[in-house]
């Protein structure tokens, strides 16, 4: 079944405490070469049947209105994965 994948990230200008904690762990482990870590969310919306334009538009709507909070997060991707 096709899946619509929605990716949501904390706004780049805002603090991401979870990403910061992982950065801290990298530093303790001696992992080098990564200037920053940010943690987002991936939603997989499973579709029964075909992904129509209407359904994709609906996915974009819920991505903006439910799956993310535009004050603190950005929807960075809504795409169909077969």
């Amino acid at each position: 079944m096709p899946t619509i994948v929605v990716d949501v990230m904390p706004k780049s200008e805002l603090l991401d405490p979870q990403g910061k904690a992982v950065s801290g762990a990298f530093a303790r482990l001696g992992v080098e070469g990564f200037a920053d870590v940010r943690i987002g969310k991936r939603f997989e919306l499973t579709v029964e049947g075909e992904v129509t334009d209407e359904l994709l538009a609906e996915a974009k709507r819920v991505a903006d209105e439910v799956l993310s909070n535009s004050v603190i997060e950005d929807v960075v991707g809504v795409e169909v994965v077969e």
Partner: protein, 235 residues
């Protein structure tokens, strides 16, 4: 007239009974309301209590903010009913766009529980009118997702319009921007904050004070304020 204050219970609410008790101690009648209903049962004011509704899944307060009763809560907010969101209730008010900004994981990643000093910044709201502006109070704080954030333009507007209701004093416990602990809307009827006034309403069960252990009752002023606000409207 007995003021009736509704307390909405959501799946995962923890402090609904404490909020009911605080309402009772303040001389009002608590009315237990249910998230799945569309009936506010004619209450004069509302409390959205603390807890971890829906396990904080998605974002803290996000799924609860989509509950059936929130349609009526939004209507009541627009009509001027005093509404207080405590902790998870504050997160719901933010998610429902009744207050601006957002609440994210504490900057230090740890759950924090402490008796917290606050400065009352705005004493003209339905929930703060028994305090004076600049007054320091101490009430318990307990949260994991209490970091208040908004963009600079929103923060400047909040400060410029006097919408910061409470600020953390002494210690900023969670990385909240500009030490913001609680907000009011423009009309002053909708107030939200992370700390818990309902846990500081009865001698013997509140924060320690200089006078005696657990004697702090600074939270009672919130509920007394709402009773006064409702009485003033009725008069």
């Amino acid at each position: 007239m007995t003021v009736r204050i509704g307390v909405v219970t959501f799946p995962g609410s923890l402090d609904d009974r404490d909020a009911q008790r605080a309402v009772r101690i303040a001389g009002a009648e608590p009315v237990a309301l249910w998230h799945g209903s569309h009936d506010l049962e004619g209450v004069d004011a509302l409390v959205l209590p603390g807890g971890f509704s829906y396990g904080d899944y998605l974002r803290a307060g996000a799924i609860a903010a989509l509950s059936p009763i929130m349609a009526e809560v939004k209507d009541a907010a627009a009509k001027g009913m005093p509404i207080l969101g405590i902790c998870n209730g504050f997160q719901m008010l933010v998610e429902a766009h009744l207050l601006p900004g957002g609440l994210i994981r504490n900057d230090h990643q740890h759950f924090v529980r402490r008796d917290q000093k606050l400065t009352v910044e705005n004493s003209d709201t339905a929930w703060t009118n028994t305090f004076r502006a600049g007054q320091e109070i101490v009430i318990p704080l307990k949260n994991g997702d209490g970091g208040y954030i908004a963009d600079d333009a929103t923060l400047d507007r909040l400060e410029g319009e006097g919408l910061v209701a409470f600020r953390y004093a002494g210690v900023n416990p969670n990385g909240s921007l500009r030490d913001i602990a609680g907000l009011t809307n423009e009309a002053g009827n909708v107030v939200g904050l992370m700390p818990h006034p309902e846990h500081s309403v009865e001698p013997g069960f509140g924060p320690d004070t200089a006078v005696a252990m657990r004697s702090g009752i600074d939270g009672l002023g919130f509920f007394a304020s709402a009773v006064a606000a409702v009485a003033r409207v009725a008069a």
